[in-house]
């Protein structure tokens, strides 16, 4: 019976869903509900059903498909690295500065590296650094946001001011400062991006927690004597998971962008990595000389990852919000 219930995200018309849910839910009948006539249903099956429905809705969105295909391509490149590149990305193979041709689809750069091989292998560093940084910032931001939004009061006041201070400093400036002080190892890079994004995540999560904490189920939890930690992690957190998921995908896109920017400025991933930002910074001075290909293709790679993550983020948000 309840198999007929579409999840609330199934259609644009809220009214439709309400009717169906009411209809399917059994009976508001005193002494009339017939338990015997109802098929008992496994609760895991229901959850699987809901998850399947969400997947189906996601797969119907072209933006999501395109985004996932692009990301999957780069992940394959990052994992397989020089095993699938046409040439060795770290050894100059040929004459330098060749225009794109059938031998070198994206040409070669001024040192003689095959640009296509470099672009493919260049996915690795950024795809390690950006997701870890994004994950860390989400974890930290969610924690702070939960604490601030739930406890409020002076804790919130102090942390809010701190967040505002951090937000007022330009991201790149701050990153340059940190890497200049601590050096630019991969760990520092991850830490830097994570710290820079945390305040933004904190603010988003805090807002979600504030509205959630006003709901009566939180009051009800307090009336049975739950402590703050339980209310935050078990009651509120599951309900703001969609917000956090969307925030993660958005941050991921920005993290890719930020890492590329830092690499371009020389404070990010270091040579001899075939990293995209690095490649752009190493070759852009050749554009006036007519050599656009060593710059354009890594730049497009950066753009494609950022656009793809945003496509995925938008789709997830739309499906969860519907």
């Amino acid at each position: 019976m309840s198999m007929n219930v579409p999840p609330p995200d199934a259609s644009g018309a809220a009214a439709v869903v309400e009717v169906e849910a009411a209809g399917a839910a059994g009976g508001d009948v005193i002494g009339e509900a017939g338990p015997g006539t109802l098929v008992p249903l496994d609760m895991r099956a229901e959850r699987r059903q809901a998850a399947r429905e969400r997947r189906r809705l996601l797969l119907r969105r072209p933006g999501f498909i395109v985004g996932v295909i692009i990301l999957a391509f780069w992940i394959v490149c990052a994992v397989a690295g020089d095993r699938i590149t046409p040439y060795d990305p770290l050894t100059p193979v040929d004459t330098s500065s060749l225009r794109p041709s059938s031998d070198h689809l994206m040409g070669t750069d001024q040192i003689g590296y095959d640009v296509l091989s470099r672009v493919m292998a260049g996915a690795r560093d950024v795809l390690v650094v950006a997701p870890i940084a994004a994950t860390l910032s989400i974890a930290l931001g969610a924690l702070l946001g939960l604490v601030m939004g739930y406890l409020r009061g002076w804790v919130d006041e102090i942390l809010s001011r701190l967040v505002e201070v951090l937000l007022s400093i330009p991201v790149v400036l701050m990153a340059l400062l940190i890497t200049a002080t601590l050096g630019s190892s991969r760990i520092v890079l991850i830490g830097t991006v994570a710290v820079l994004f945390t305040p933004i995540v904190t603010r988003t999560v805090r807002a979600a927690v504030l509205s959630e904490a006003q709901l009566d189920y939180v009051t009800s939890a307090r009336l049975r004597g739950e402590n703050g930690l339980f209310v935050m992690t078990r009651e509120i957190l599951p309900n703001i998971r969609p917000t956090i998921l969307v925030e993660f995908t958005v941050r991921l896109g920005y993290a890719v962008f930020t890492v590329a920017t830092l690499s371009f400025l020389g404070s990010g991933i270091q040579p001899p990595s075939p990293d995209w930002g690095l490649a752009v910074s190493d070759t852009y001075f050749l554009i006036p000389a007519g050599q656009w290909w060593p710059t354009l293709f890594p730049a497009l790679a950066i753009a494609s990852v950022v656009v793809a993550t945003n496509l995925v983020a938008d789709s997830i948000e739309a499906v969860l919000a519907a």
């Binding site: 579409p6 199934a10 009214a15 839910a25 009976g27 509900a33 609760m43 049975r224």
Partner: protein
């Protein structure tokens, strides 16, 4: 254009049968859900003449709002009109181009929504918003402002210039709704659709808004289509009414006739669900309508109501019911005010089963469970002290239901929350449970004390964690409050579910898979999980349909009889309070104004405030004989009036006394206390209809 609509407005209201302002004919409408069209409206037909008010009633999900929105062709993108037509002033709305439609909506039809707060733009001053409604009609800037001013005057806003300078959030709900109505009337529409226009408002404000609409009806030629779930509102406003079920109008006729002498089992069922004629829980259970509305898209080849009808027989299952005209004498007559019912068995309506009489004789032991003494609560806002509760004295006996009534802002919820320890009362306040003093904050109370007091909230959507299953919600509550774990807890959950008429299947569902009534049952189950002494119910049925409300009220009354739990029952619906409560307290501005048994409160003598509350309620049984209108708005608790706090709005105000001296609490008969200067013999004694 304006000229034209003006002249329409002045046309005499003697429209003949043919020229309807709104004619909905054989309207079929479906929502496409995943590519499959699902039928929502099944041949809806009705006509509204100019100047006539037509009401649509039915449970939520019956298609009444869809019908109303269809009249303006304001439908979600997956809605498809599959048949029939909608004529407004002779033009078919279903065939309009988007340009015609825009013109139609701006000049010929208007809508008033349920929530005036969200219908107004919060960043634009009232003056500009209202004059915009005129600029759209091509009225120039200065004149538009002028017209806006008179439009506000028309909806009886006393000081339009001041109101025009304000933002929506600076106005009360009733005031906002007036502004929305003023804007809706700007184009002198031929059709005015009101969708639950007073649902979010207090009874006293509702009465004011309804008065206003009724007055405007006198001098407009617009056809009014009113959607409301409150049958009393429909009765007091509408000339004719259509009762909808599963996308079909099952009964239609003169409003008074339909409510006095319903001719369809569904209409009769809806009316019987209401606690009326002063019926009390000790006398009988409320009637409920078994089952729920069919899902949209369900094939209903014969009678749409057959699955829930107590009179249904083979004939109902095999043949489409005839349209039976019940006009006395001439059954064939097809006059405009025809009262008809789609039922095979209107002659058997008297055989509808009566609800069983209940012997839930409350044993009011008289032993006081909770005692509030001098309880005050002051909030501190931006350096100001806002006293929300002032010197509350209250007793609640074992197994007793205490009704708590008053307008919003009177402190009802604050009182409940102070009792529960969600708001810590001011120093000096004393709350005793079974003779021992309670800690002010719930977090400082021992588990035993928390277990003794639980709450059922108004909105079950907000009260249940959407990511938890029903089983987890109940299990956790049992664990925390009683310490019972594992299998023993599971046994308790099953018992609890059975008592609440939840099936085992419901236990593994999440709230969003449940209907509103079932959700509220889960919330009640949670409140009862730790065998509480007192359950605080904060408007537990105000978000529910009448049929569901009746089931919930029956359930609460059964549970009380079994467990001898005490209830503190907050509600603005006096009919409901009268049914359930043994005693009632009336609050105004954080102070108790009157306290007494239910009979004492309803029979009088009344406190003037109670008198006004009682007379404000629109009833399905007709208007109370005398209406007392509360003027003005509830004052700010931060700055309460001197003397008697109610004197600014009181119809019995005595200058020199009420505004100077705080009135004493007088016990006019045993247990009946009133805070008023008037001598007992001068207090009002309104004979109220059932409420």
């Amino acid at each position: 254009m304006n000229e034209r609509s003006m002249s329409v407005a002045e046309a005499p209201r003697t429209a003949t049968g043919t020229d309807h302002a709104l004619a909905v004919e054989d309207l079929d409408l479906a929502y496409n859900v995943r590519g499959i069209p699902r039928e929502v409206l099944r041949g809806v037909t009705f006509h509204v003449r100019p100047g006539e008010a037509y009401g649509l009633v039915g449970e939520s999900g019956c298609g009444k709002s869809t019908t109303a929105y269809a009249a303006l062709r304001y439908l979600p993108s997956n809605a498809v009109i599959t048949g029939g037509r909608i004529l407004v002033g002779g033009n078919d709305v279903t065939k309009m181009s988007s340009k015609q439609l825009r013109r139609f909506r701006s000049r010929e039809a208007s809508m008033v929504y349920q929530d005036p707060g969200s219908a107004l733009n919060p960043t634009v001053k009232i003056g500009r918003q209202v004059s915009e409604a005129f600029s759209i009609l091509g009225v120039g800037g200065k004149e538009a402002t002028e017209r806006a001013r008179s439009a506000l005057q028309r909806v009886r806003i006393a000081d339009p210039d001041r109101v025009m300078q304000r933002y929506p959030h600076q106005l009360s709900g009733g005031m906002q709704q007036r502004v929305v109505i003023a804007m809706a009337l700007a184009c002198d529409p031929q059709l005015l659709v009101l969708d639950e226009p007073t649902t979010g408002l207090d009874a006293t404000v509702e009465a004011e808004v309804l008065d206003l609409v009724r007055m405007l009806l006198q001098d407009t030629s617009a056809a009014i289509l009113l959607i409301a779930h409150n049958l009393g509102v429909i009765r007091s406003m509408c000339d004719r009414v259509g009762v909808m079920y599963a996308g079909k109008i099952v009964e239609e006729g003169d409003a008074v006739e339909v409510f006095e002498a319903p001719k369809h089992p569904y209409t009769l069922g809806l009316l019987q669900c209401l606690p009326r004629h002063g019926v009390r829980k000790s006398e009988r259970a409320l009637f409920t309508i078994p089952g729920t509305l069919p899902q949209i898209g369900t094939k209903l080849p014969t009678c749409v109501y057959v699955d829930r009808c107590a009179l249904a027989d083979d004939l109902c299952r095999t043949e489409v019911p005839p349209v039976v005209h019940v006009d006395v004498g001439h059954t064939e007559a097809r006059s405009e005010a025809a009262h008809f019912s789609r039922c095979h068995h209107i002659d058997r309506l008297s055989q509808m089963p009566e609800p069983a009489s209940d012997d839930n004789d409350n044993v009011l032991g008289g032993k006081v469970v909770i005692k509030m003494q001098d309880v005050s609560k002051t909030f501190h806002q931006r350096g100001h002290d806002v006293p929300a509760l002032v010197g509350i004295q209250l007793d609640l006996g074992g197994g007793e239901t205490l009704g708590l009534v008053g307008e919003s802002g009177s402190g009802k919820s604050t009182l409940a929350k102070a009792m529960l320890g969600i708001h810590e009362p001011d120093a000096g306040s004393e709350i005793e449970l079974d003779g021992h003093l309670l800690e002010g904050k719930s977090s400082n109370r021992p588990t035993e004390d928390m277990r003794a007091m639980q709450m059922v909230f108004q909105n079950p959507d907000s009260a249940l964690n959407r990511t938890w299953t029903v089983r987890r919600i109940l299990k956790r509550t049992i664990n925390k409050l009683t310490g019972v774990k594992g299998d023993e807890a599971d046994t308790r959950i099953e018992k609890l579910a059975e008592a609440l008429r939840l099936t085992p299947r419901h236990l593994d569902m999440r709230p969003r898979q449940l209907s509103g009534g079932l959700k509220q049952r889960v919330a009640i189950a949670r409140a009862f999980a730790g065998d509480p002494r007192i359950v605080i119910c904060d408007e537990p049925t105000s978000a529910l349909d009448v049929s569901v409300q009746a089931a919930i009220l029956n359930l609460l009354s059964d549970l009380q009889a079994k467990e001898s739990t005490s209830y503190l029952f907050i509600s603005h619906d006096l009919g409901v309070v009268r049914y359930l409560a043994d005693r009632i307290v009336v609050m105004y501005l954080g102070r108790l104004q009157e306290e007494g048994t239910t009979d004492q409160i309803f029979d009088g003598p009344h406190h003037p405030y109670t008198e006004a509350l009682l007379s404000a309620v629109p009833s399905v049984d007709g208007e109370p004989s005398r209406r007392i209108r509360l003027s003005g708005e509830i004052p700010s608790p931060a700055n309460p009036p001197s003397g008697c706090v109610f004197h600014t709005r009181c119809h019995r105000f005595m200058e020199g006394t009420c505004d100077v001296i705080e009135p004493p609490v007088v016990e006019i008969e045993p247990g009946h206390r009133i805070r008023c200067h008037l001598p007992v013999e001068e207090l009002g004694r309104t004979q109220v209809a059932a409420g």
